[in-house]
């Protein structure tokens, strides 16, 4: 049983192992921003229209407008009381603490940009982080003659009957003119399995 006498190596390696764990734990930082909503919850929320609010429906006394455009655009003109917070800054420590404060105070936050599309991403990220008191202003905003105007916006509304455009300028219907019609090739898509694979294994 010679081997049991030799404990130098095992002692040293155990100490190193414990040290590595200790260092790892001590230097470990918890993720600051954690998703509170799963993807399917987000998808369900996005499918409702609850997060969109019209300018006229905003309860001014209990709401805070936040302009998510860049600073210079904000400086040119903005909604009266609005604060400025470009999309890139929404996860800064100060921003998060501000959102926390507003949430705890029961205030509604209304994001707006040039169009709702612009405010969309910022809203979505914060919604997934659990800030349910944020809404998007369903309006387009623009600067007209140095006055900041808020106009209604038709979100995701098809602007035209697409078929009409084909009919326009095609008054005559002849049967034998397929020559010019571009026949779009049938797209055959073979999706290969991705590089990222689940490990397989076993003995």
């Amino acid at each position: 049983m010679k081997e049991l006498e030799k404990t130098k190596r095992i002692s040293i390696s155990t100490v190193i192992f414990i040290l590595v764990i200790l260092i790892g734990v001590l230097t470990f930082k918890k993720p600051t921003n954690v998703y509170k909503k799963t993807n399917s919850e987000t998808l369900a929320m996005v499918n409702t229209q609850d997060y969109l609010v019209d300018y006229t429906d905003v309860d001014q006394s209990n709401s805070v407008f936040i302009d998510i455009r860049e600073r210079f655009e904000y400086s040119k003109g903005h909604i009266g009381e609005a604060l400025n917070m470009p999309t890139a800054d929404i996860l800064e420590e100060q921003s998060i603490s501000m959102f926390d404060g507003l949430r705890d105070a029961g205030k509604t936050i209304v994001f707006y940009g040039k169009t709702p599309n612009e405010a969309n991403s910022a809203w979505m990220i914060l919604y997934q982080l659990g800030y349910e008191n944020i809404k998007i202003l369903n309006s387009a905003t623009q600067l007209v003659d140095n006055r900041f105007e808020v106009t209604n916006y038709d979100l995701e509304k098809p602007i035209a009957n697409y078929l009409e455009i084909f009919n326009n300028g095609n008054p005559e219907n002849s049967e034998d003119t397929q020559v010019l019609a571009p026949v779009t090739p049938k797209k055959v898509i073979a999706v290969k399995k991705k590089k990222k694979r689940k490990p397989e294994g076993g003995c």
Binding site: I21, G24, V25
Partner: protein
């Protein structure tokens, strides 16, 4: 972050190189721990040498503690790891057959490869036996298929089976391992020494 290859951080070509390197280390550790000697291995069943139990349990405890720390620290994604599937009766019956084979032959496949490398002739025969066993299994697969594929419980872990958080299970396993080490030392002192 990890595991590196399934997450695509390292390309798949590395897999082979790493396989050889891991094999090298595996073989070295097994051989240096004395697992190339069938009599040392069999000692665990007769109480004169508990190297198998010690190496095996230490490895299991260290790896499980290490992996869960890494998971905690976000260095590895436990969900990406391959969890050995549980086919209840296949595991029990297969394990029982292996147990008889272990005590009769004195090796398990990994250790027999080590013994093959250092020229133990009984290990050569043993490896040949394993291959014969695989051959028999394959030929009799139609008979054994029900057992092989039956009672499938999924790629479950003890966390799923007992519904206890993994950390408590690990703590329990650690205690069991330490008790086993302690008991094995007592047993070894009482049993007549066998020189081999």
């Amino acid at each position: 972050m990890g595991p590196l290859i399934p997450n695509g951080i390292l390309t798949n070509e590395w897999n082979i190189i790493i396989a050889v390197l891991i094999g090298l280390a595996f073989g070295f550790i097994l051989e240096a721990s004395g697992f190339s000697s069938s009599r040392k291995l069999a000692g665990v069943f007769y109480g004169y040498d508990f190297a198998v139990l010690k190496v095996f349990f230490t490895a299991a405890v260290v790896s499980v503690i290490g992996l869960y720390y890494m998971d905690y620290l976000g260095w590895i994604d436990m969900g990406m790891l391959y969890v050995h599937p549980t086919y209840l009766w296949a595991a029990i019956i297969g394990g029982a057959i292996m147990g008889v084979g272990f005590v009769a032959g004195g090796f398990c496949p990994g250790t027999s490869l080590c013994a093959v490398a250092i020229g133990k002739l009984d290990a050569w025969v043993y490896v040949f036996g394993i291959m014969l066993g695989v051959f028999i299994f394959s030929e009799a697969y139609s008979v054994l298929e029900g057992l092989y594929n039956g009672s499938f419980l999924g790629n479950i872990t003890l966390v799923d089976s007992f519904d206890i958080p993994a950390n408590y299970i690990i703590f329990g396993v650690t205690i069991i391992a330490l008790v086993a080490f302690f008991v094995s030392d007592i047993v070894r002192k009482r049993i007549k020494k066998v020189f081999y």
